[in-house]
Symmetry: C2
Subunit: 239 residues, 2 copies
């Protein structure tokens, strides 16, 4: 049985400010909770109805789940995890490949980019404070479990990039071809906001701009699609 | 002033069966309607409130728009277009580059793939009957105007591909590297469903399978991200 206070706390975790204050986040759904458990994520609380076959810390009724859930159509499981904010180590950006997201606001895009970074085994993903919150359910769901495997760090982007000694390459509508990335083994690639591209402050610290050549009529590519093309090029053997 | 019958007809166009029966589709939103008009699409009806600055065929009130709209938050413009189903010409697939979507069900993915096909100037996109409907608002919105520029054809996929004389390459979890696509100038690339991949019937007509090598932990890539990586490789100069 959940108390009134417990319901209220679970509901509040829908909003970023309450997640930050309590240091907790919520994930719901059989598929995503199973994937995160399989990826080794440890939840502090797992509420589930009789329909859930996995691990739980408390059995609740369907009515209670409907009341606690953040969605109009609740699933059989709602898990609560502790937010563990990672910090960037000194000189860390100088090793390996980093994707830096500068104002990627759509949570579906942020989650899909985590999945791409996981697929291509990038070393880390940086997120500016203007990106969708890493601990929102939409981001975690779209990442399909990659949320638990990718080293993701929220940072002040211009400050963090200012200390990097490796090339900092920004995806833009003009610049060198993305095909020039093959064989790079230490670099930061910046993906800008869906509507406005890379911010002025981050543009100031770029080593150069790279571009995916446009041959047809579309005005832009989706941010996650651009990130996928960048990663495929980074992981190509240099010819 | 819209009549009761007009409201009913506009509302019904939310469903595919009614769109098919009437041969009409609806698009709403300032940005997408402007983009489609700029791309040369001719609408048969454009209903707009006083807030819409563009072309219209009938001025309606905000209350009428709220009643006609398919969305809880209506915009200032609702346009109706005639469905013009294209058919595949004899031997058409033997010329140029074709993306074939086999059961891509998410309308956001279908729209994003149209935008990718437009960006990379592919010659056409084929859609199996199991794909999201080309004339749903979610597809048209996600395509960002590319809907009006890309030659998109709904077909019986195994039948259409059975007549092609060019290589038919299927994206799969195993196969030749996607990096082998460079320099191909006539081919069909098949993108399968988000959950189940390419259907058995289509697998039977593939010339070979291609893959985007996985280096990390993610189980799959998003269908639109995979299509973007395929197109970038097709448009790369062969080395």
């Amino acid at each position: 049985m959940l108390t009134r206070g417990q319901f209220q706390r679970l509901k509040e975790l829908k909003e970023k400010k309450h997640r930050e204050a309590l240091g907790l986040f919520v994930v719901e759904g059989e598929k995503v909770v199973s994937e995160l458990l399989a990826a080794g994520l440890v939840f502090s609380e797992i509420y589930a109805t009789a329909a859930w076959g996995g691990k739980r810390t408390e059995m609740i009724t369907e009515e209670e789940m409907a009341r606690a859930s953040h969605f109009p159509t609740p699933s059989s499981v709602l898990a609560v995890g502790e937010i563990q904010r990672k910090t960037l180590g000194a000189g860390e950006l100088n090793k390996g490949l980093t994707l830096a997201l500068d104002g990627v606001q759509d949570p579906g895009n942020v989650g899909t980019i985590l999945r791409i970074a996981d697929w291509f085994a990038l070393d880390r993903v940086l997120l500016s404070p203007t990106c969708a919150d890493l601990y929102s359910q939409k981001v975690i769901n779209a990442s399909m479990g990659s949320f638990a495997r990718v080293r993701s760090i929220a940072v002040n982007l211009p400050e963090a990039l200012g200390e990097a000694e490796v090339p900092i390459l920004g995806c833009d509508l003009e610049g060198d071809s993305v095909h020039s990335l093959a064989g790079l083994n230490a670099a930061v690639i910046v993906i800008g906001s869906e509507g406005r591209g890379i911010s002025g402050e981050v543009k100031a610290v770029l080593s150069k701009r790279i571009t995916i050549a446009r041959l047809g009529g579309a005005e832009s590519l989706n941010a996650a699609v651009a990130a996928g093309i960048v990663c495929d090029n980074l992981r190509r053997k240099s010819s």
